[in-house]
């Protein structure tokens, strides 16, 4: 009789619910290979509708349009129904409850890439404060209060551009408000001297934080935003949890 070590037992326990969906990225222990569960393809991409926590609904629509335009197969699901996928996108949300943050952390831990686009700059101050706390406690990210780009620079009369450096070097127009972010994470994008997007390793997966909304630009067909989204998809597959720049 073989005896499971504590570590191996915990690994099996954690993987069991996901095994129901088959072909989990990061692959579970061999013990799960037999008997084979019914095949259910892991979707290329999941769009998570955060319901009442989705502050920017147009961002949700925008990501769907962008994915459809890029011919990336996606499913739209509620937070409770999130399952492993090639790329998991949470558009325009505010982390004002622990449930969503924990769900995203769990998915990252299991080897998924979660792209979280914050809509908290458009939520109430109290809700933002909770998001700030959740990001710090769950992902070790330090976010500052939203900056109003156009009011902060009266008379400047020019758009500012978010300079993405990963997974593609591209400039996307600002969306009036940004959430600066710092912490132990690799830079994804910057606006002037502020880091507004980053990615961090969470166990076997990756958490990408976008502090400047991308979805609305996708919704109105911005070609650079579209290129960026198309680049996120293969990047999320090749990451396999190496955090190279």
């Amino acid at each position: 009789m073989s005896i499971l070590s504590r570590r191996r037992f915990l690994g099996v326990s954690a993987a069991v619910p996901l095994a129901l969906y088959g072909n989990v990225r990061g692959n579970g222990p061999d013990l799960l290979a037999e008997p084979a569960p019914p095949e259910r393809a892991v979707p290329d991409c999941l769009i998570v509708d955060a319901g009442e926590h989705c502050t920017l609904r147009e961002s949700l629509t925008g990501f769907k349009r962008g994915l459809a335009a890029a011919s990336i197969r996606f499913e739209s699901v509620a937070v409770e129904a999130v399952q492993p996928a090639g790329l998991i996108v949470v558009p325009g949300a505010t982390l004002n409850s622990p449930g969503l943050a924990q769900a995203m952390h769990r998915l990252c831990s299991l080897g998924n890439t979660v792209l979280y686009e914050s809509g908290a700059a458009y939520s109430e101050r109290e809700a933002f404060a909770i998001e700030q706390q959740q990001l710090r406690n769950t992902f070790g990210l330090l976010v500052e209060a939203p900056a109003e780009l156009w009011r902060a620079r009266p008379g400047s009369n020019r758009p500012s551009y978010v300079h993405y450096r990963w997974p593609l070097r591209v400039m996307v127009r600002d969306f009036s408000r940004i959430i600066p972010v710092s912490g132990e994470a690799s830079e994804v994008a910057r606006l002037d001297d502020l880091r507004v997007a980053c990615r961090s390793q969470v166990r076997r997966g990756t958490f990408v934080f976008l502090g400047s909304p991308l979805g609305p630009h996708l919704g109105c067909g911005d070609p650079d935003a579209q290129s960026l989204l198309k680049a996120f998809w293969p990047a999320s597959r090749s990451l396999d949890n190496t955090d190279s720049p």
Partner: protein, 279 residues
């Protein structure tokens, strides 16, 4: 065609009733009510108070030609902030509700505002979506939404063909154009807008314009009928060609330094001559 003028033209300090009396005496058939622009008609004006307004309009021998608003300049349907957009939609809904109460079948909406901050593509997308949704509400209310062409100030839908494409993209029978012949400035010719939009015109705003783009405070390019650069015989002919028989609504700026009520009389006579083609 019937003549109307906005209640926002009523001289400051005059009551609504005094204004209605002036409008009637100067020869108009109806009055355009401006939600949010006059003290008697605000977002918090109750249904009962709106019905009182209708009663006063009726007592003056007039009817309400349409419900307009300038509130969307500060609260645009194209705003990035979803809370602002929700409020903007609520304003349109209130216009539709009050139009029903006031027994008219058209409202005016400034559909979107292109700014340095909020670029054209975003504004277009949001306005199409907003109008598709509000167009459904309008159909239920049987009140048409007329999106106004505010070409130079709105920096949106600058040509008649582009406006036509917008309406096709919206694709709702209860969404049309509230055509302002004074808003075209030097970007085109009012008579061509009339020809292109014909049956989609919900109401027509009348004023004249100097063919210089934009405005600059008191140096406004807008002026009284026949004092500007519009080709009024061509406008008359285009109205005849498309068979427009609806409301002509005077929307002037306050240009009279003295005897402000005289602007009502002069404008009414000018509209009569436009309708008769005595130009």
């Amino acid at each position: 065609m019937k003549k109307s003028i906005g209640d926002n033209m009523i001289p400051q300090g005059w009551s609504f009733e005094q204004g209605l009396e002036l409008i009637k005496k100067s020869g108009y058939d109806g009055v355009e009510l401006w939600l949010g622009d006059v003290p008697w008609f605000q977002m918090n004006t109750t249904d009962a108070q709106v019905q009182e307004l209708l009663s006063k309009v009726g007592s003056a021998g007039l009817v309400v030609s349409n419900v307009s608003t300038g509130l969307h300049w500060d609260t645009p349907l194209s705003a990035r902030d979803p809370k602002v957009r929700a409020q903007a939609a609520r304003i349109v809904e209130r216009q539709l509700e009050t139009a029903q109460l006031l027994k008219t079948d058209a409202i005016l909406v400034v559909a979107g505002l292109v700014t340095e901050e909020v670029p054209y593509n975003e504004v277009y997308q949001r306005c199409v979506e907003a109008m598709q949704s509000l167009g459904e509400t309008a159909a239920k209310a049987k009140v048409k939404i007329g999106c106004e062409n505010c070409n130079s100030e709105q920096r949106f839908l600058m040509s008649p063909r582009e406006f036509q494409t917008f309406l096709k993209d919206v694709d709702r029978p209860y969404v049309g154009i509230h055509l302002d012949v004074g808003n075209i400035h030097d970007t085109g010719f009012a008579e061509q807008w009339i020809e292109i939009h014909g049956p989609n015109i919900t109401r027509i705003h009348l004023k004249d314009v100097k063919k210089h783009r934009g405005r600059c405070g008191e140096q406004s390019v807008y002026t009284n009928l026949f004092l500007g650069d519009n080709n009024w015989p061509a406008i008359h002919a285009a109205l005849q060609k498309v068979g427009y028989d609806g409301w002509l609504v005077a929307e002037m700026e306050d240009r009279y330094h003295y005897a402000k009520d005289q602007q009502f009389y002069d404008t009414a006579v000018a509209i009569d001559r436009l309708v008769a083609g005595r130009l």
